[in-house]
Symmetry: none
Subunit: 235 residues, 2 copies
Amino acid sequence: MHHKTTALIIDDEAQIRKLLVFTLEKQGYRTLTADTGTLGIEMTAMHKPDIILLDIGLPDITGIDVLSRIREWSQVPVIILSVRDREEEKVVALDKGADDYLTKPFGMSELLARVRVALRHQSQTDTTSSILSNGAIKLDVASHLVTLHGREIELTATELHLLRIFLQHPGKILTHTFLLTEVWGTAFKEETQYLRVYVGNLRRKFEKDTTRPTIFITEPGIGYRMLLLEEPPIL
Amino acid sequence: MHHKTTALIIDDEAQIRKLLVFTLEKQGYRTLTADTGTLGIEMTAMHKPDIILLDIGLPDITGIDVLSRIREWSQVPVIILSVRDREEEKVVALDKGADDYLTKPFGMSELLARVRVALRHQSQTDTTSSILSNGAIKLDVASHLVTLHGREIELTATELHLLRIFLQHPGKILTHTFLLTEVWGTAFKEETQYLRVYVGNLRRKFEKDTTRPTIFITEPGIGYRMLLLEEPPIL
DNA sequence: TAGAGACGTAAGAGGTTCGTGAAGCAGTGG
DNA sequence: CCACTGCTTCACGAACCTCTTACGTCTCTA
């Protein structure tokens, strides 16, 4: 993957947006901005930012609603920004899934520190170590490079995503619903046909005999499982 | 198996400690207290609390030092409490591994909300897959894997579902109606023949001698029962 | 010991789920 | 505008599971 860490700023005040964009980009983050809640939700779905800075007072829908909508399908860290210092509002926001809550005016260095904390939590949650492997199959997450016995395998974006999910849970049975929500999003959790096609693709590229799979096992009525594989002999 | 969530309060002011203990215990947390940094570090090692509330101004060593020492070996969530609102100090604390930073005076409901946020992060990090077990039979609910004496047993979706119900009520007599309702739904509560077939399947896969079952016992006219089994010897 | 009711087991029909090849469709770059 | 790639959708045979039926066994009671 290595793209820059991307921050989405959802705030209706142009001044604040500018300040945040300037500050974050100076630190090397990529930034996206949205001036309404609806747009913010769309951009979250579209661009999958690594962190969201969300103003609670928006023109169309409240920041809390934006947060709730996003939390239906994403665990991206969200830091709430607010002009009001109302404790009750803080509690609601934090319990709705916000990761932090900052009251304006706040210092930029504190904001950056809290962004780092949120991203740190996230990276602990993601098992995003730079190389995932299971036996002879290795995936370098940063460079998108996949190898089988050291030979490179060409994968499309979706195949790669699916493989990554399997590699993050080696040996475990992953349900249809789980795989579909992880790779395609919660709206696709019924589309088991996608899995048939893409697990098929992975088998075609990794299995010796696709008719009798030894890596990607079907668990009928439940889901699929990537077996724990032997480490290849070190030559 | 569920022990209460334990909070360790490291603060030298008795008043604050009392207030925090009172508030947290009212919410159902277990609390521990330490009035010096050194003691706090010891208690962290000894009692492995689930979260730490750490005052930054301590008599012996600074809260930052306490944090650094703890972070050498533990990822327990730490929320810093401080009387000072110095931004620079916040940044240092957060970058040293603190999960949040609250400036006194703060509201108790905000504190509790931030404790919940910290614990939520932690529970996402832990990959504690819940395991149901009875003797040598183990079911990892998340990964749907079943083992008997460590060897994996292949189960169909229905068999798995039925086994889960048994494991959730070990040793208890479960009526036909109850089992049928749980696994097949209330519309099937008369279909006791299903149970004969599927309990038979489980016996075939788990019992040594299916003609004299020692695990899945028939309670004639009532239902079935999964006996409490001996823990397997630790080798 | 006979009979009735409940239970266990085997086997097959039927239906659901799977795998796979191929056809639409959308986006990209020449 | 066309060729190319990859995602989605469709169609159909194969594989598998669930449900059903049939029948034998066990247990309790008279």
